[in-house]
Amino acid sequence: MGATRLALLLSGPLLLSGCSGNLKWYVVSPMTDAGRANLLFLLGGLKYTLLLSFTAIVISVFVGLLVALPGISGNRGLRACNRVYVECVRAVPILVLILWVYYGLPIVMGISVSVFWAGVIALALSDSAFEAEIFRAGIQSIERGQLEAADSLGLGYVDRMRYVVLPQAIKRVLPPLGNQLVYMLKMSSLVSIIGMEELTRRANELVTAEYRPLEVYTVLVLEYLVLILIVSSGVRWMERRMSDEER
């Protein structure tokens, strides 16, 4: 696969240059006990990166859909609500949103928010605006004739959406939806700032302990690279499967 070749290509020169003595690969070498322990420590963050990203994307897809529907309604007020939400949420940087949800929301709401849920809420909130735009575009791309056929069968709004419009729209928005998932995996690294023990945070901690930033961060880069290549090929597989169904 092209992806593996690319990873090898990137790591090859780095590993070789390590032989010259400038790089101390033993810090993350699977050959030594200490290196193995460090590697496992770094990989341990994967669980939280995945949990964080997938929880956030599931929530943001639902919120995004709920926000998209008023955006395509015939009612001007509902459409305005959609615009305000999308524009405002999109305007706030994710990092700022994470900080505000973690430090601000508990005070405003009078509740305590764990690091994990603060991260999930911030990521989901930020992403939901993009999801809403994706769904709106997807739904609007469905041909008028499909709606007319549904109407002439007497289907109501909910049935029409559920059985006619959304199944077709979701198929069409799968590629951008997959991109959002990849984006989410990358953005989850920002949650390290509030102390979430995901991939990036673990790497930061190891750098502090070992003082080998280049080696540790190289491993971090590879971790994200492999993770995202796997996820995007999964999305592509799903797209292919869904388009095969129709043939």
């Binding site: 041909e143 004739g145 499909q146 007319e148 056929a149 109407d151 002439s152 069968l153 007497g154 289907l155 109501g156 049935d159 059985y163 006619v164 199944p167 077709q168 198929k171 169904e245 129709e246 043939r247």
Partner: protein, 259 residues
């Protein structure tokens, strides 16, 4: 509510199923329908013809309210559709089958699922009942063996027959056809027209927009000839084809029959 009387002289005895009264429909600066008054009795087969842009499609789309008229009244089965609530309209629409030029089958559903969706979600049939019904109507349109295929695996003629079966599964009182063969290759037109002819023999009320004059002559009880948003002639097929009363009708026939 008072029900308007049937205007057509030869159907005074029959109850009108559809009545349009002074219906206007404008698109921006263009009058698609201009004072349309038409009454169709239960069991009648009406073919609507006329040059393109004459308002034929708009006329039948007003009957099931895919287009809302700007003025006038549309009655179906004794109910004013223009004034009906959206809930009532939905219920009434299940009694009006519609076949589109572009078929408008649901591409993500198999033929069988296309047919059972309405009966299950709207008429409240069980999955088994709906499937039985669907298979019966697929038999009626002569493609029982295509039940598990997706629309795009079928030919245009087959797709249109599936679309007809889908509408029939709602067991409607009225079937509307909006140029059902205009998107088809010539060799597939016949199979669709045959199915429509068979349907006519069952006593179904049909309003058909078409350029197929052979079909009109064979099946129609009445020909409605439209031009510029108006009904120019509303007469029996033999009268229309042999002695059109209007110069516009004569000109249209000349162009369509002697090309």
């Amino acid at each position: 509510m008072s029900e308007p009387a049937v205007t057509s002289a030869n159907h005074l005895t029959k109850r009108p199923l559809v009545v349009l009264d002074a219906v206007d429909k404008r698109f921006v600066d263009f009058a698609a329908l201009d004072g349309i008054t038409l009454s169709v009795a239960a069991g009648e087969k009406v073919v609507v013809c006329g040059p393109s842009g004459s308002g034929k499609s708009t006329l039948i789309r007003c009957i099931n309210q895919l287009e809302r008229p700007d003025a006038g009244m549309v009655w179906f089965d004794g109910v004013d559709l223009v004034a009906a609530s959206s809930r009532d309209l939905r219920r009434l629409r299940t009694d009006i089958g519609m076949v589109f030029q572009q078929f408008n089958l649901f591409p993500h559903l198999t033929v069988l699922d296309n047919l059972t969706l309405g009966p299950m979600r709207v008429r409240g049939l069980s999955a088994r009942e709906a499937e039985e019904l669907a298979r019966r109507y697929l038999e009626r349109v002569h493609i029982p063996e295509q039940a598990d295929k997706y629309p795009r695996q079928l030919s245009g003629g087959q797709q249109q027959r599936v679309a007809i079966a889908r509408s029939l599964c709602m067991e409607p009182k009225l079937m509307l056809f909006d140029e059902p063969t205009s998107a088809l290759d010539p060799e597939m037109i016949v199979e669709v027209l045959d199915v429509m002819g068979e349907l006519a023999q069952t006593g179904m009320t049909m309003i058909v927009v078409t350029h197929e004059m052979g079909f009109a002559r064979r099946v129609a009880d009445r020909i409605v000839f439209m031009d510029a948003g108006q009904i120019v002639e509303d007469t029996r097929p033999e009268t229309f084809f042999t002695a059109p009363a209007s110069p516009r009708g004569a000109e249209f026939l000349d162009r369509i029959l002697n090309h």
